[in-house]
Amino acid sequence: MNDKKKKVKEISFEDSLKKLEEIVEELEKGELSLDEALKLYEEGMEFSDKCMEKLNESKQKVEKITKEGNNKYHTEPFSVQNNEEDEKE
């Protein structure tokens, strides 16, 4: 699959956020040429998009897992409301 591609693009949220913060700081110093500034700006926007991507990557899902052998299992939706009356573990 596009596993390789994914790996190259794989940068953690923390790293993206840190990069974005550094870029903003660098621009704030204002000692850059226009080319450098434009390049940094572009990078900054990319990291910002990357952060958003990371935040919205996963989908909400709450499941209960049932083991069916060593590596086998099945999942079903899990809802906490159904268990409310049952306080005791």
Binding site: I23, L34, A37, K54, I65, V80, K88
Partner: protein, 409 residues
């Protein structure tokens, strides 16, 4: 029947009660006996005496611990505690009830369990299972997490609700397991092993349960579970009981949370504040870029202005002006010079006129030329007798022959 009743001895309540009392007193088992049970209905009377019930799954026994005995207690008894009480079982005649007269009481198991806990803790610590540097870090934005706990407990409810409140789009996998009882530790351990095999992409696993007695939390103090936590490749968060409860699991786990809901608070980022932070950064990025562009534009204009100023056109214009200036001055000077010369010329003309031989002729002088070459005769020796001469006078020429000559000194 009625005659039988008449013949039969009749006892008073006191007689019978005392008889029962004697039976109790005669049984050595009921002297100085130690009973294990759960405290219930505990009342600390203003008189200083303690009244309570000891119970287990099926039975209960009423107890009293008098002031003189309970002064030396090493703990504050409360309902639900497992205690080991020592005393006599006797009859309380006034109520016709048997009671347990307690003269010594200790928290049950506390000593033994605590010792086991400390021993295991020391052992695992010595083996390096608690070392900070081997603890795995958790990703800041988890996508998929698992929770091993009772599916019906308060813990799972708290974890799910706090997690979804902080970060709505997350994948939670509930792994049902017993969290107390003899099977609990091995069930939790097996599930950790299973998740490592079946779902290695999990960001982390929370194991835990709500508060309870030390016995109820005991599964989390067992070696089998501690070792499984240690060998898990997926990071483990231990969230057992209340803030004050510490278990072996807490020490081995990659992260210890004070409570199940605390585990969610600590591990799940607040998406809303992350979005706000990100928005601020993005805004700042745009503002800074615009600022830089404006700055560079200004710099550019300044340079263009400067360049315009430095352009050769300017120099040419300057030179042209100089040229005009010089030309003007040249013209002016020339005119002046010409004027001056014209005056001089007029003067000379006048002078020349006065100096002209013709003017002299008018005054009566004449000029004599020797012909035919018309040489002006200045000395007598220039001519001979009979030479043809012409004499110029003011109004014409007289031709003559030399008839004689005489020089005078």
């Amino acid at each position: 029947m009625s005659s039988n009743q008449l013949n039969k001895k009749v006892y008073s309540v006191s007689n019978i009660t005392r008889h029962i009392q004697q039976l109790f007193n005669a049984d050595p088992l009921l002297r100085n006996v130690t009973i294990l049970g759960e405290l219930s209905n505990f009342k600390y009377h203003s008189s200083g005496h303690m009244y309570f019930v000891l119970k287990d799954d099926q039975c209960q026994i009423r107890c009293v611990m008098f002031r003189g005995s309970n002064l030396g207690l090493s703990f504050d008894p409360s309902d639900g505690m497992e205690v080991r009480a020592t005393g006599d079982v006797r009859v309380y005649e006034k109520r016709g009830e048997y009671q347990f007269y307690v003269f010594q009481m200790a928290e049950a198991g506390k000593g033994a369990l605590f010792a086991a806990f400390e021993a295991l803790k020391e052992k695992l610590k010595a083996e390096g299972l608690f070392k900070q540097e081997i603890k795995k870090s958790l990703p800041k934005i988890p996508r998929k997490i698992a929770v091993i706990t009772s599916p019906t407990g308060a813990a799972i409810r708290d974890i799910i609700s706090v997690t979804l409140r902080r970060f709505p789009n997350i994948h939670i996998i509930v792994v049902p397991a017993q969290v107390q009882g003899t099977e609990a530790a091995s069930q939790i351990a097996k599930n950790i092993k299973f998740l490592n095999l079946a779902l290695p992409d999990l960001d982390f696993i929370i194991i835990g349960r709500g508060g309870g007695s030390i016995e109820e939390l005991w599964a989390f103090n067992e070696e089998i579970l501690a070792r499984q936590i240690y060998s898990s490749r997926i990071p483990i968060v231990s969230a057992v009981g209340h803030e004050t409860d510490f278990t072996i699991s807490d020490f081995v786990a990659d992260l210890r949370a004070p409570t199940p809901s605390g585990a969610a608070e600590m591990t799940i980022p607040d998406k809303e504040s992350l979005l706000i932070h990100l928005g601020l950064l993005k805004g700042k990025l745009n503002r800074m870029m615009n600022h830089i562009l404006e700055l560079k534009r200004q710099q550019y204009f300044n340079i263009v202005e400067n360049l315009k100023y430095q352009s050769p056109k300017n120099k040419i214009l300057q030179h042209l002006q100089t040229l005009d200036d010089l030309t003007n001055r040249l013209n002016l000077n020339m005119k002046h010079i010409i004027g001056m010369n014209e005056n001089l010329l007029a003067k000379y003309k006048e002078k020349i006129i006065t100096l002209s031989p013709k003017a002299v002729l008018k005054r009566g002088y004449s000029i004599c030329f020797k012909m035919p070459k018309k040489i002006i005769v200045k000395k007598t020796e220039q001519v001979e007798k009979n030479n043809l001469i012409e004499i110029m006078v003011s109004d014409g020429i007289i031709s003559a022959n030399v008839s004689g000559k005489e020089s005078c000194k």
